[in-house]
Amino acid sequence: MSTFLQQLVNGLSLGSIYALIALGYTMVYGVLRLINFAHGDVYMLGAFAGYYLSRRLQGSEPSLVSALIVMAGSMLTCAVIGILIERFAYRPVRRASRLTLLITAIGVSLFIENGAQLVFGPDPKFFPSLAPRADFHMGPVRVTSEQLTVIVVSLLLMLALRFFILKTRTGKAMRAVSFSLDAAKLMGISTDGIIAVTFALGSALAAAAGVLIGMQIPKIDPLMGIVYGLKAFVAAVLGGIGNIPGAVLGGLLIGVSEVMVVGYLSSTYRDAIAFGILILVLLLRPQGILGRVQKEKV
Protein backbone atom coordinates (compact mmCIF):
# COMPACT_ATOMS: atom_id res chain seq x y z
CA MET A 1 0.00 0.00 0.00
CA SER A 2 2.79 2.41 0.86
CA THR A 3 4.49 1.68 -2.49
CA PHE A 4 1.18 2.36 -4.17
CA LEU A 5 0.81 5.73 -2.43
CA GLN A 6 4.40 6.61 -3.21
CA GLN A 7 3.86 5.76 -6.89
CA LEU A 8 0.67 7.80 -6.82
CA VAL A 9 2.57 10.88 -5.64
CA ASN A 10 5.26 10.34 -8.28
CA GLY A 11 2.58 9.86 -10.90
CA LEU A 12 0.70 12.99 -9.92
CA SER A 13 3.83 15.09 -10.15
CA LEU A 14 4.69 13.67 -13.59
CA GLY A 15 1.05 13.98 -14.60
CA SER A 16 1.00 17.68 -13.69
CA ILE A 17 3.77 18.25 -16.22
CA TYR A 18 1.81 16.39 -18.89
CA ALA A 19 -1.29 18.35 -17.95
CA LEU A 20 0.48 21.70 -18.37
CA ILE A 21 1.68 20.73 -21.84
CA ALA A 22 -1.66 19.16 -22.75
CA LEU A 23 -3.41 22.47 -22.00
CA GLY A 24 -1.50 24.11 -24.85
CA TYR A 25 -2.46 21.35 -27.27
CA THR A 26 -6.08 21.49 -26.32
CA MET A 27 -6.36 25.30 -26.46
CA VAL A 28 -4.73 25.51 -29.89
CA TYR A 29 -6.89 22.66 -31.13
CA GLY A 30 -9.89 24.48 -29.76
CA VAL A 31 -9.31 27.61 -31.83
CA LEU A 32 -7.61 26.26 -34.95
CA ARG A 33 -8.47 22.51 -35.10
CA LEU A 34 -4.75 21.93 -35.44
CA ILE A 35 -2.49 19.43 -33.71
CA ASN A 36 0.38 21.73 -32.94
CA PHE A 37 3.19 19.18 -33.29
CA ALA A 38 5.71 21.87 -32.42
CA HIS A 39 4.20 22.29 -28.94
CA GLY A 40 6.45 19.64 -27.38
CA ASP A 41 9.43 21.51 -28.77
CA VAL A 42 8.24 24.78 -27.26
CA TYR A 43 8.30 22.93 -23.94
CA MET A 44 11.91 21.94 -24.66
CA LEU A 45 12.75 25.57 -25.50
CA GLY A 46 11.18 26.57 -22.17
CA ALA A 47 13.53 24.22 -20.35
CA PHE A 48 16.52 25.65 -22.21
CA ALA A 49 15.42 29.25 -21.63
CA GLY A 50 15.20 28.40 -17.94
CA TYR A 51 18.64 26.79 -18.06
CA TYR A 52 20.35 29.82 -19.61
CA LEU A 53 18.49 32.26 -17.34
CA SER A 54 19.44 30.38 -14.20
CA ARG A 55 23.06 30.23 -15.34
CA ARG A 56 22.93 34.03 -15.53
CA LEU A 57 21.60 34.22 -12.01
CA GLN A 58 24.03 31.63 -10.69
CA GLY A 59 25.98 34.10 -8.57
CA SER A 60 23.08 34.38 -6.20
CA GLU A 61 22.00 31.73 -3.72
CA PRO A 62 19.22 29.40 -4.83
CA SER A 63 16.14 31.13 -3.57
CA LEU A 64 12.46 31.45 -4.24
CA VAL A 65 12.93 34.85 -5.90
CA SER A 66 15.46 33.64 -8.45
CA ALA A 67 13.29 30.60 -9.14
CA LEU A 68 10.36 32.88 -9.84
CA ILE A 69 12.46 35.11 -12.13
CA VAL A 70 13.63 32.08 -14.09
CA MET A 71 10.12 30.74 -14.40
CA ALA A 72 8.65 34.08 -15.50
CA GLY A 73 11.49 34.78 -17.94
CA SER A 74 11.19 31.41 -19.56
CA MET A 75 7.40 31.71 -19.84
CA LEU A 76 7.74 35.12 -21.47
CA THR A 77 10.38 33.90 -23.95
CA CYS A 78 8.23 30.98 -25.02
CA ALA A 79 5.11 33.10 -25.28
CA VAL A 80 6.96 35.23 -27.82
CA ILE A 81 8.20 32.11 -29.63
CA GLY A 82 4.67 30.73 -29.73
CA ILE A 83 3.37 33.95 -31.28
CA LEU A 84 6.17 33.91 -33.86
CA ILE A 85 5.45 30.28 -34.83
CA GLU A 86 1.79 31.09 -35.31
CA ARG A 87 2.49 34.29 -37.25
CA PHE A 88 5.09 32.96 -39.67
CA ALA A 89 4.25 29.27 -40.10
CA TYR A 90 0.59 28.64 -39.34
CA ARG A 91 -1.13 31.87 -40.35
CA PRO A 92 -0.11 31.65 -44.04
CA VAL A 93 -1.61 28.14 -44.32
CA ARG A 94 -4.61 28.64 -42.03
CA ARG A 95 -7.09 28.59 -44.90
CA ALA A 96 -5.44 25.62 -46.61
CA SER A 97 -6.49 22.00 -46.06
CA ARG A 98 -5.98 20.45 -42.66
CA LEU A 99 -3.42 18.10 -44.12
CA THR A 100 -1.31 21.08 -45.16
CA LEU A 101 -1.59 22.49 -41.65
CA LEU A 102 -0.56 19.16 -40.15
CA ILE A 103 2.49 18.84 -42.41
CA THR A 104 3.45 22.43 -41.63
CA ALA A 105 3.26 21.63 -37.94
CA ILE A 106 5.51 18.60 -38.41
CA GLY A 107 7.92 20.80 -40.37
CA VAL A 108 8.03 23.44 -37.63
CA SER A 109 8.64 20.75 -35.05
CA LEU A 110 11.57 19.27 -37.00
CA PHE A 111 12.92 22.76 -37.58
CA ILE A 112 12.95 23.59 -33.87
CA GLU A 113 14.44 20.23 -32.88
CA ASN A 114 17.27 20.43 -35.39
CA GLY A 115 17.80 24.13 -34.93
CA ALA A 116 18.09 23.57 -31.18
CA GLN A 117 20.65 20.83 -31.71
CA LEU A 118 22.64 23.30 -33.77
CA VAL A 119 22.35 26.19 -31.31
CA PHE A 120 22.52 24.41 -27.94
CA GLY A 121 24.60 21.43 -29.06
CA PRO A 122 23.24 17.87 -29.07
CA ASP A 123 24.63 16.90 -25.64
CA PRO A 124 22.38 16.95 -22.61
CA LYS A 125 22.74 19.86 -20.20
CA PHE A 126 22.27 19.80 -16.47
CA PHE A 127 19.77 22.13 -14.95
CA PRO A 128 21.15 23.95 -11.88
CA SER A 129 19.05 23.67 -8.74
CA LEU A 130 16.88 26.74 -8.33
CA ALA A 131 15.41 26.44 -4.89
CA PRO A 132 16.63 24.94 -1.61
CA ARG A 133 15.44 21.38 -1.46
CA ALA A 134 14.04 19.22 1.30
CA ASP A 135 12.14 15.97 1.75
CA PHE A 136 8.82 15.72 3.50
CA HIS A 137 7.64 12.49 5.06
CA MET A 138 3.98 11.74 5.37
CA GLY A 139 3.83 8.38 7.01
CA PRO A 140 5.64 6.00 4.65
CA VAL A 141 5.38 8.35 1.67
CA ARG A 142 8.27 10.60 0.80
CA VAL A 143 7.54 13.79 -1.09
CA THR A 144 10.47 15.82 -2.37
CA SER A 145 10.23 19.58 -2.42
CA GLU A 146 10.59 19.43 -6.23
CA GLN A 147 7.54 17.21 -6.52
CA LEU A 148 5.62 19.48 -4.22
CA THR A 149 6.69 22.54 -6.24
CA VAL A 150 5.61 20.87 -9.47
CA ILE A 151 2.19 19.98 -8.12
CA VAL A 152 1.56 23.33 -6.43
CA VAL A 153 2.86 25.51 -9.25
CA SER A 154 0.92 23.65 -11.90
CA LEU A 155 -2.21 23.82 -9.78
CA LEU A 156 -1.80 27.59 -9.43
CA LEU A 157 -1.20 28.01 -13.16
CA MET A 158 -4.25 25.96 -14.01
CA LEU A 159 -6.41 28.01 -11.66
CA ALA A 160 -5.05 31.20 -13.20
CA LEU A 161 -5.86 29.88 -16.67
CA ARG A 162 -9.35 28.94 -15.58
CA PHE A 163 -9.90 32.42 -14.19
CA PHE A 164 -8.55 34.00 -17.37
CA ILE A 165 -10.77 31.96 -19.67
CA LEU A 166 -13.95 32.20 -17.66
CA LYS A 167 -13.78 35.69 -16.19
CA THR A 168 -11.95 38.04 -18.55
CA ARG A 169 -13.05 39.66 -21.77
CA THR A 170 -10.20 38.09 -23.75
CA GLY A 171 -11.08 34.70 -22.28
CA LYS A 172 -14.65 35.10 -23.38
CA ALA A 173 -13.46 36.02 -26.87
CA MET A 174 -11.29 32.91 -26.87
CA ARG A 175 -14.27 30.74 -26.04
CA ALA A 176 -16.21 32.42 -28.82
CA VAL A 177 -13.44 31.77 -31.34
CA SER A 178 -13.23 28.13 -30.37
CA PHE A 179 -17.00 27.84 -30.73
CA SER A 180 -16.97 29.26 -34.23
CA LEU A 181 -14.15 31.21 -35.79
CA ASP A 182 -16.28 32.79 -38.50
CA ALA A 183 -19.13 33.80 -36.24
CA ALA A 184 -16.65 35.32 -33.79
CA LYS A 185 -15.13 37.35 -36.59
CA LEU A 186 -18.59 38.62 -37.60
CA MET A 187 -19.20 39.72 -34.02
CA GLY A 188 -16.19 42.03 -34.24
CA ILE A 189 -13.68 39.88 -32.38
CA SER A 190 -10.13 40.26 -33.63
CA THR A 191 -9.66 36.53 -34.32
CA ASP A 192 -6.01 36.90 -35.33
CA GLY A 193 -5.28 38.57 -32.03
CA ILE A 194 -7.15 35.91 -30.07
CA ILE A 195 -5.33 33.09 -31.86
CA ALA A 196 -2.02 34.80 -31.05
CA VAL A 197 -3.04 35.08 -27.38
CA THR A 198 -3.95 31.39 -27.37
CA PHE A 199 -0.54 30.41 -28.71
CA ALA A 200 1.15 32.73 -26.21
CA LEU A 201 -0.76 31.24 -23.26
CA GLY A 202 -0.23 27.65 -24.35
CA SER A 203 3.46 28.21 -24.96
CA ALA A 204 3.91 29.94 -21.62
CA LEU A 205 2.33 26.96 -19.84
CA ALA A 206 4.61 24.59 -21.77
CA ALA A 207 7.61 26.71 -20.75
CA ALA A 208 6.54 26.48 -17.12
CA ALA A 209 6.38 22.70 -17.54
CA GLY A 210 9.88 22.79 -19.03
CA VAL A 211 11.33 24.66 -16.05
CA LEU A 212 9.50 22.39 -13.62
CA ILE A 213 10.82 19.24 -15.28
CA GLY A 214 14.29 20.81 -15.23
CA MET A 215 14.01 21.14 -11.44
CA GLN A 216 12.81 17.57 -11.06
CA ILE A 217 14.85 15.66 -13.68
CA PRO A 218 17.80 18.00 -14.30
CA LYS A 219 18.98 16.44 -17.58
CA ILE A 220 17.66 18.42 -20.55
CA ASP A 221 18.41 17.94 -24.26
CA PRO A 222 17.07 19.30 -27.57
CA LEU A 223 14.99 16.19 -28.34
CA MET A 224 13.31 15.92 -24.94
CA GLY A 225 10.16 17.55 -26.32
CA ILE A 226 9.24 14.72 -28.68
CA VAL A 227 8.21 12.08 -26.17
CA TYR A 228 6.71 14.50 -23.66
CA GLY A 229 4.87 16.29 -26.43
CA LEU A 230 3.37 13.09 -27.79
CA LYS A 231 2.29 11.89 -24.36
CA ALA A 232 0.80 15.25 -23.51
CA PHE A 233 -1.08 15.14 -26.78
CA VAL A 234 -2.41 11.72 -25.85
CA ALA A 235 -3.46 13.23 -22.53
CA ALA A 236 -5.36 15.97 -24.35
CA VAL A 237 -7.16 13.41 -26.52
CA LEU A 238 -7.90 11.21 -23.51
CA GLY A 239 -9.56 14.09 -21.69
CA GLY A 240 -11.38 15.24 -24.81
CA ILE A 241 -9.45 17.54 -27.12
CA GLY A 242 -10.55 21.15 -26.96
CA ASN A 243 -11.73 20.64 -23.39
CA ILE A 244 -9.60 22.38 -20.76
CA PRO A 245 -10.51 20.42 -17.60
CA GLY A 246 -10.23 17.32 -19.79
CA ALA A 247 -6.59 18.08 -20.58
CA VAL A 248 -5.77 18.30 -16.86
CA LEU A 249 -7.60 15.07 -16.09
CA GLY A 250 -5.98 13.32 -19.04
CA GLY A 251 -2.52 14.51 -18.04
CA LEU A 252 -2.88 13.24 -14.50
CA LEU A 253 -4.26 9.89 -15.68
CA ILE A 254 -1.42 9.37 -18.17
CA GLY A 255 1.18 10.36 -15.58
CA VAL A 256 -0.17 8.02 -12.92
CA SER A 257 -0.66 5.08 -15.29
CA GLU A 258 2.82 5.47 -16.70
CA VAL A 259 4.44 5.49 -13.27
CA MET A 260 2.33 2.48 -12.25
CA VAL A 261 3.39 0.50 -15.32
CA VAL A 262 7.04 1.29 -14.67
CA GLY A 263 6.65 0.48 -10.99
CA TYR A 264 4.72 -2.78 -11.29
CA LEU A 265 5.50 -4.13 -14.77
CA SER A 266 8.51 -3.15 -16.83
CA SER A 267 10.13 0.14 -17.71
CA THR A 268 10.63 -0.88 -21.36
CA TYR A 269 6.90 -0.52 -21.91
CA ARG A 270 6.98 3.00 -20.51
CA ASP A 271 6.54 4.73 -23.87
CA ALA A 272 4.03 2.23 -25.25
CA ILE A 273 1.50 2.64 -22.43
CA ALA A 274 0.42 6.15 -23.42
CA PHE A 275 -0.22 5.04 -26.99
CA GLY A 276 -2.01 1.92 -25.81
CA ILE A 277 -4.34 4.14 -23.77
CA LEU A 278 -4.80 6.45 -26.75
CA ILE A 279 -5.85 3.61 -29.02
CA LEU A 280 -8.28 2.23 -26.47
CA VAL A 281 -9.81 5.67 -25.95
CA LEU A 282 -10.21 6.34 -29.65
CA LEU A 283 -11.84 2.97 -30.19
CA LEU A 284 -14.18 3.08 -27.23
CA ARG A 285 -14.85 6.77 -26.76
CA PRO A 286 -13.30 8.85 -29.55
CA GLN A 287 -14.50 12.15 -28.11
CA GLY A 288 -12.46 11.55 -24.92
CA ILE A 289 -13.64 11.33 -21.32
CA LEU A 290 -15.07 14.85 -21.01
CA GLY A 291 -15.49 15.68 -24.69
CA ARG A 292 -18.81 16.03 -26.43
CA VAL A 293 -19.66 14.28 -29.70
CA GLN A 294 -19.67 16.70 -32.59
CA LYS A 295 -22.16 15.94 -35.29
CA GLU A 296 -20.75 16.07 -38.76
CA LYS A 297 -22.63 18.33 -41.11
CA VAL A 298 -22.49 17.95 -44.85
Partner: protein, 336 residues
Protein backbone atom coordinates in the same frame (compact mmCIF):
# COMPACT_ATOMS: atom_id res chain seq x y z
CA UNK B 1 1.77 -11.62 -74.38
CA UNK B 2 2.99 -8.09 -74.93
CA UNK B 3 2.92 -7.41 -71.20
CA UNK B 4 4.94 -10.55 -70.55
CA UNK B 5 7.56 -9.41 -73.05
CA UNK B 6 7.75 -5.97 -71.42
CA UNK B 7 8.20 -7.63 -68.04
CA UNK B 8 10.97 -9.85 -69.36
CA UNK B 9 12.65 -6.85 -70.96
CA UNK B 10 12.56 -4.94 -67.65
CA UNK B 11 14.06 -7.91 -65.78
CA UNK B 12 16.78 -8.32 -68.40
CA UNK B 13 17.56 -4.60 -68.38
CA UNK B 14 17.83 -4.54 -64.59
CA UNK B 15 20.07 -7.61 -64.67
CA UNK B 16 22.31 -5.89 -67.20
CA UNK B 17 22.47 -2.62 -65.26
CA UNK B 18 23.24 -4.54 -62.11
CA UNK B 19 26.06 -6.41 -63.85
CA UNK B 20 27.41 -3.17 -65.27
CA UNK B 21 27.28 -1.25 -61.98
CA UNK B 22 28.93 -4.00 -59.95
CA UNK B 23 31.52 -4.49 -62.70
CA UNK B 24 30.97 -8.21 -63.26
CA UNK B 25 30.88 -7.72 -67.03
CA UNK B 26 33.72 -5.25 -67.43
CA UNK B 27 35.44 -3.43 -64.59
CA UNK B 28 35.31 -0.20 -66.60
CA UNK B 29 31.67 0.51 -65.73
CA UNK B 30 31.95 -0.29 -62.04
CA UNK B 31 30.80 2.49 -59.72
CA UNK B 32 32.05 3.06 -56.19
CA UNK B 33 30.44 0.88 -53.48
CA UNK B 34 29.30 4.04 -51.72
CA UNK B 35 27.43 5.27 -54.76
CA UNK B 36 25.94 1.82 -55.33
CA UNK B 37 24.68 1.77 -51.76
CA UNK B 38 23.11 5.20 -52.17
CA UNK B 39 21.36 3.95 -55.31
CA UNK B 40 20.07 0.85 -53.52
CA UNK B 41 18.78 2.83 -50.54
CA UNK B 42 17.10 5.19 -53.00
CA UNK B 43 15.36 2.16 -54.53
CA UNK B 44 14.09 1.07 -51.11
CA UNK B 45 12.89 4.60 -50.47
CA UNK B 46 11.02 4.54 -53.77
CA UNK B 47 9.09 1.46 -52.62
CA UNK B 48 8.30 3.15 -49.30
CA UNK B 49 7.25 6.43 -50.87
CA UNK B 50 5.10 4.88 -53.59
CA UNK B 51 3.34 2.60 -51.11
CA UNK B 52 2.73 5.39 -48.60
CA UNK B 53 1.39 7.56 -51.38
CA UNK B 54 -1.33 4.99 -52.04
CA UNK B 55 -2.85 5.55 -48.60
CA UNK B 56 -1.80 9.18 -47.99
CA UNK B 57 -1.98 10.66 -51.44
CA UNK B 58 -4.61 8.67 -53.29
CA UNK B 59 -6.91 7.60 -50.47
CA UNK B 60 -6.36 10.80 -48.50
CA UNK B 61 -5.93 8.99 -45.17
CA UNK B 62 -2.97 10.53 -43.40
CA UNK B 63 -0.89 7.74 -41.91
CA UNK B 64 2.38 8.43 -40.08
CA UNK B 65 3.31 4.94 -38.93
CA UNK B 66 4.79 3.53 -42.11
CA UNK B 67 8.13 2.71 -40.46
CA UNK B 68 6.35 0.25 -38.16
CA UNK B 69 5.19 -1.90 -41.08
CA UNK B 70 8.60 -1.67 -42.64
CA UNK B 71 10.03 -2.97 -39.36
CA UNK B 72 7.63 -5.92 -39.32
CA UNK B 73 8.60 -6.88 -42.88
CA UNK B 74 12.29 -6.51 -42.13
CA UNK B 75 12.28 -8.50 -38.92
CA UNK B 76 9.95 -11.26 -40.15
CA UNK B 77 11.97 -11.89 -43.29
CA UNK B 78 15.28 -11.75 -41.47
CA UNK B 79 14.00 -14.15 -38.82
CA UNK B 80 13.14 -16.60 -41.59
CA UNK B 81 16.44 -16.42 -43.45
CA UNK B 82 18.61 -16.35 -40.32
CA UNK B 83 16.96 -19.29 -38.59
CA UNK B 84 15.75 -21.44 -41.46
CA UNK B 85 18.13 -20.28 -44.20
CA UNK B 86 20.46 -23.28 -44.00
CA UNK B 87 17.64 -25.80 -43.95
CA UNK B 88 16.06 -24.15 -47.00
CA UNK B 89 19.39 -24.13 -48.79
CA UNK B 90 19.61 -27.88 -48.13
CA UNK B 91 16.29 -28.46 -49.86
CA UNK B 92 17.31 -26.18 -52.72
CA UNK B 93 20.68 -27.90 -53.20
CA UNK B 94 19.98 -28.56 -56.86
CA UNK B 95 20.06 -24.82 -57.67
CA UNK B 96 23.24 -22.75 -58.19
CA UNK B 97 24.02 -20.33 -55.40
CA UNK B 98 22.50 -17.14 -56.89
CA UNK B 99 19.32 -19.13 -57.49
CA UNK B 100 19.24 -20.28 -53.85
CA UNK B 101 19.76 -16.69 -52.73
CA UNK B 102 16.93 -15.52 -54.92
CA UNK B 103 14.47 -18.13 -53.66
CA UNK B 104 15.46 -17.44 -50.07
CA UNK B 105 15.02 -13.69 -50.54
CA UNK B 106 11.67 -14.16 -52.25
CA UNK B 107 10.49 -16.38 -49.39
CA UNK B 108 11.61 -13.74 -46.90
CA UNK B 109 9.90 -10.95 -48.82
CA UNK B 110 6.70 -12.99 -49.12
CA UNK B 111 6.62 -13.62 -45.38
CA UNK B 112 7.50 -10.01 -44.59
CA UNK B 113 4.82 -8.66 -46.90
CA UNK B 114 2.26 -11.12 -45.53
CA UNK B 115 2.90 -10.24 -41.89
CA UNK B 116 3.07 -6.51 -42.60
CA UNK B 117 -0.21 -6.83 -44.49
CA UNK B 118 -1.82 -8.69 -41.59
CA UNK B 119 -0.57 -5.98 -39.24
CA UNK B 120 -1.98 -3.40 -41.63
CA UNK B 121 -5.34 -5.14 -41.41
CA UNK B 122 -5.25 -5.28 -37.60
CA UNK B 123 -4.24 -1.63 -37.34
CA UNK B 124 -6.45 -0.45 -40.17
CA UNK B 125 -9.78 -1.91 -39.16
CA UNK B 126 -10.13 -0.01 -35.91
CA UNK B 127 -8.22 3.15 -36.80
CA UNK B 128 -9.55 3.90 -40.29
CA UNK B 129 -12.92 4.66 -38.73
CA UNK B 130 -11.25 7.81 -37.45
CA UNK B 131 -10.58 10.82 -39.59
CA UNK B 132 -7.86 13.32 -40.27
CA UNK B 133 -5.68 14.21 -37.33
CA UNK B 134 -6.89 11.37 -35.17
CA UNK B 135 -5.93 8.79 -37.77
CA UNK B 136 -2.51 10.40 -38.04
CA UNK B 137 -1.90 10.18 -34.34
CA UNK B 138 -3.23 6.60 -34.01
CA UNK B 139 -1.00 5.34 -36.80
CA UNK B 140 1.87 7.13 -35.13
CA UNK B 141 0.96 5.36 -31.90
CA UNK B 142 0.76 1.97 -33.57
CA UNK B 143 4.09 2.56 -35.27
CA UNK B 144 5.72 3.24 -31.90
CA UNK B 145 4.00 0.29 -30.23
CA UNK B 146 5.23 -2.07 -32.96
CA UNK B 147 8.74 -0.75 -32.42
CA UNK B 148 8.62 -1.12 -28.65
CA UNK B 149 7.30 -4.68 -28.96
CA UNK B 150 10.05 -5.70 -31.38
CA UNK B 151 12.54 -4.14 -28.99
CA UNK B 152 11.25 -6.55 -26.35
CA UNK B 153 11.36 -9.75 -28.45
CA UNK B 154 14.58 -11.49 -27.59
CA UNK B 155 14.35 -13.94 -30.51
CA UNK B 156 15.14 -11.12 -32.92
CA UNK B 157 17.88 -9.58 -30.83
CA UNK B 158 15.85 -7.10 -28.80
CA UNK B 159 17.88 -4.02 -27.97
CA UNK B 160 21.08 -5.57 -29.41
CA UNK B 161 19.63 -5.51 -32.89
CA UNK B 162 19.51 -8.43 -35.30
CA UNK B 163 22.85 -9.14 -36.97
CA UNK B 164 24.13 -11.91 -39.22
CA UNK B 165 21.44 -11.47 -41.84
CA UNK B 166 22.68 -12.90 -45.15
CA UNK B 167 23.24 -10.34 -47.89
CA UNK B 168 20.62 -11.51 -50.37
CA UNK B 169 19.33 -8.24 -51.76
CA UNK B 170 21.22 -6.24 -54.34
CA UNK B 171 20.59 -3.56 -56.92
CA UNK B 172 18.71 -6.01 -59.16
CA UNK B 173 16.25 -7.21 -56.54
CA UNK B 174 15.67 -3.79 -55.04
CA UNK B 175 14.85 -2.15 -58.35
CA UNK B 176 12.84 -5.16 -59.49
CA UNK B 177 10.61 -4.71 -56.47
CA UNK B 178 10.57 -0.95 -56.91
CA UNK B 179 9.24 -1.55 -60.43
CA UNK B 180 6.69 -4.06 -59.11
CA UNK B 181 5.50 -1.60 -56.44
CA UNK B 182 5.11 1.16 -58.98
CA UNK B 183 3.21 -1.23 -61.25
CA UNK B 184 0.93 -2.43 -58.43
CA UNK B 185 0.09 1.09 -57.27
CA UNK B 186 -0.40 2.39 -60.82
CA UNK B 187 -2.73 -0.48 -61.70
CA UNK B 188 -4.71 0.02 -58.49
CA UNK B 189 -5.05 3.76 -59.03
CA UNK B 190 -6.27 3.33 -62.60
CA UNK B 191 -8.75 0.58 -61.73
CA UNK B 192 -12.34 1.13 -60.67
CA UNK B 193 -11.22 0.39 -57.13
CA UNK B 194 -8.70 3.20 -57.48
CA UNK B 195 -11.50 5.53 -58.45
CA UNK B 196 -13.34 4.71 -55.23
CA UNK B 197 -10.14 5.56 -53.34
CA UNK B 198 -9.87 8.91 -55.09
CA UNK B 199 -13.56 9.52 -54.44
CA UNK B 200 -12.92 8.93 -50.73
CA UNK B 201 -10.05 11.41 -50.82
CA UNK B 202 -12.11 14.06 -52.51
CA UNK B 203 -15.18 13.73 -50.31
CA UNK B 204 -15.71 10.82 -48.00
CA UNK B 205 -19.34 11.59 -47.23
CA UNK B 206 -20.26 12.02 -50.87
CA UNK B 207 -18.47 8.77 -51.73
CA UNK B 208 -20.44 6.96 -49.04
CA UNK B 209 -23.66 8.45 -50.38
CA UNK B 210 -22.75 7.11 -53.83
CA UNK B 211 -22.61 3.61 -52.37
CA UNK B 212 -18.86 3.22 -51.83
CA UNK B 213 -18.06 0.97 -48.87
CA UNK B 214 -15.58 3.50 -47.53
CA UNK B 215 -14.23 1.51 -44.60
CA UNK B 216 -13.62 -1.56 -46.76
CA UNK B 217 -11.86 0.46 -49.47
CA UNK B 218 -9.72 2.32 -46.96
CA UNK B 219 -8.70 -0.88 -45.17
CA UNK B 220 -7.84 -2.62 -48.46
CA UNK B 221 -5.71 0.30 -49.54
CA UNK B 222 -4.03 0.36 -46.13
CA UNK B 223 -3.25 -3.38 -46.32
CA UNK B 224 -1.64 -3.05 -49.76
CA UNK B 225 0.35 -0.06 -48.56
CA UNK B 226 1.56 -1.87 -45.43
CA UNK B 227 2.46 -5.04 -47.32
CA UNK B 228 4.61 -3.03 -49.74
CA UNK B 229 6.27 -1.33 -46.76
CA UNK B 230 6.99 -4.88 -45.51
CA UNK B 231 8.67 -5.66 -48.84
CA UNK B 232 10.83 -2.56 -48.43
CA UNK B 233 11.73 -3.63 -44.89
CA UNK B 234 12.72 -7.13 -46.07
CA UNK B 235 14.98 -5.69 -48.77
CA UNK B 236 16.42 -3.17 -46.30
CA UNK B 237 17.39 -5.90 -43.81
CA UNK B 238 18.87 -8.18 -46.44
CA UNK B 239 20.80 -5.36 -48.01
CA UNK B 240 22.39 -3.86 -44.88
CA UNK B 241 22.65 -7.28 -43.11
CA UNK B 242 21.70 -5.70 -39.79
CA UNK B 243 18.46 -4.48 -38.26
CA UNK B 244 17.88 -2.31 -35.23
CA UNK B 245 14.64 -0.81 -34.03
CA UNK B 246 16.33 2.61 -34.06
CA UNK B 247 16.03 2.55 -37.86
CA UNK B 248 12.26 2.44 -37.60
CA UNK B 249 11.39 5.33 -35.33
CA UNK B 250 8.83 8.05 -35.80
CA UNK B 251 11.51 10.00 -37.70
CA UNK B 252 11.73 7.33 -40.40
CA UNK B 253 7.98 7.65 -40.99
CA UNK B 254 8.39 11.41 -41.18
CA UNK B 255 11.19 11.01 -43.72
CA UNK B 256 8.92 9.01 -46.01
CA UNK B 257 6.23 11.64 -45.61
CA UNK B 258 8.69 14.38 -46.55
CA UNK B 259 9.50 12.42 -49.73
CA UNK B 260 5.91 12.12 -50.86
CA UNK B 261 5.03 15.66 -49.86
CA UNK B 262 7.97 17.04 -51.84
CA UNK B 263 6.99 15.03 -54.89
CA UNK B 264 3.28 15.61 -54.61
CA UNK B 265 0.61 13.68 -52.71
CA UNK B 266 -1.26 11.67 -55.28
CA UNK B 267 1.46 11.45 -57.90
CA UNK B 268 3.37 8.21 -58.40
CA UNK B 269 6.17 9.73 -60.44
CA UNK B 270 6.15 12.52 -57.87
CA UNK B 271 6.95 10.09 -55.07
CA UNK B 272 9.73 8.49 -57.12
CA UNK B 273 11.21 11.92 -57.74
CA UNK B 274 10.69 12.88 -54.09
CA UNK B 275 12.45 9.73 -52.85
CA UNK B 276 15.43 10.20 -55.16
CA UNK B 277 15.61 13.92 -54.42
CA UNK B 278 15.45 13.31 -50.68
CA UNK B 279 18.24 10.76 -50.59
CA UNK B 280 20.24 12.77 -53.12
CA UNK B 281 20.04 15.90 -50.97
CA UNK B 282 20.73 13.92 -47.80
CA UNK B 283 23.87 12.41 -49.25
CA UNK B 284 24.88 15.59 -51.10
CA UNK B 285 24.71 17.61 -47.91
CA UNK B 286 26.63 15.02 -45.87
CA UNK B 287 29.39 17.56 -45.20
CA UNK B 288 26.86 19.93 -43.68
CA UNK B 289 25.21 17.22 -41.64
CA UNK B 290 24.13 19.41 -38.77
CA UNK B 291 22.44 21.92 -41.07
CA UNK B 292 20.80 19.28 -43.21
CA UNK B 293 17.66 18.60 -41.24
CA UNK B 294 17.26 22.29 -40.41
CA UNK B 295 17.25 23.00 -44.12
CA UNK B 296 14.85 20.14 -44.88
CA UNK B 297 12.34 21.17 -42.28
CA UNK B 298 12.57 24.78 -43.37
CA UNK B 299 11.96 23.75 -46.99
CA UNK B 300 9.01 21.61 -45.90
CA UNK B 301 7.32 24.56 -44.17
CA UNK B 302 8.13 26.84 -47.09
CA UNK B 303 6.75 24.31 -49.56
CA UNK B 304 3.51 24.09 -47.59
CA UNK B 305 3.15 27.87 -47.70
CA UNK B 306 3.94 28.45 -51.38
CA UNK B 307 3.04 25.11 -53.01
CA UNK B 308 1.08 22.85 -50.64
CA UNK B 309 0.38 20.26 -53.35
CA UNK B 310 4.09 19.41 -53.69
CA UNK B 311 6.18 19.70 -56.83
CA UNK B 312 3.91 17.69 -59.12
CA UNK B 313 0.62 17.92 -57.25
CA UNK B 314 -1.81 15.23 -58.40
CA UNK B 315 -0.22 15.10 -61.84
CA UNK B 316 2.21 12.57 -63.25
CA UNK B 317 5.54 13.56 -64.70
CA UNK B 318 4.72 12.41 -68.22
CA UNK B 319 1.59 14.52 -68.37
CA UNK B 320 3.81 17.59 -68.02
CA UNK B 321 5.65 16.83 -71.26
CA UNK B 322 4.45 18.14 -74.63
CA UNK B 323 1.67 15.95 -75.96
CA UNK B 324 3.57 14.19 -78.73
CA UNK B 325 6.26 12.93 -76.34
CA UNK B 326 3.78 11.16 -74.14
CA UNK B 327 3.85 7.43 -74.59
CA UNK B 328 0.90 5.36 -73.49
CA UNK B 329 -0.21 7.56 -70.58
CA UNK B 330 -3.84 7.52 -69.64
CA UNK B 331 -5.49 10.71 -68.59
CA UNK B 332 -4.30 11.49 -65.07
CA UNK B 333 -6.75 10.56 -62.31
CA UNK B 334 -9.21 13.32 -61.54
CA UNK B 335 -7.57 15.96 -59.43
CA UNK B 336 -9.18 18.16 -56.85
Amino acid sequence: MKKLATGAAVVAALWLVNALLTGTLTPATRISPYFLQVLCLAGINIILAVSLNLINGFTGQFSIGHAGFMAIGGYASAYLTVNFGDRMRGVLGFLPEPGQNGVLLLAGIALGALLAGVAGFLVGVPSLRLRGDYLAIVTLGFGEIIRVFILNIDAVGGARGLSGIPKLANFFWIYLFAAISILVVTRIVHSSFGRTLIAIREDEIAAEAMGVDTTRSKVTSFIVSSALAGVAGALFGHYLMYLHTNSFTFLKSIEIIIMIVIGGLGSITGSVIGAVLYIGLTEGLRDFQQYRMVLFSFLLVLLMIVRPQGLLGHREFLSLLPRRWRIGVDAPPASG
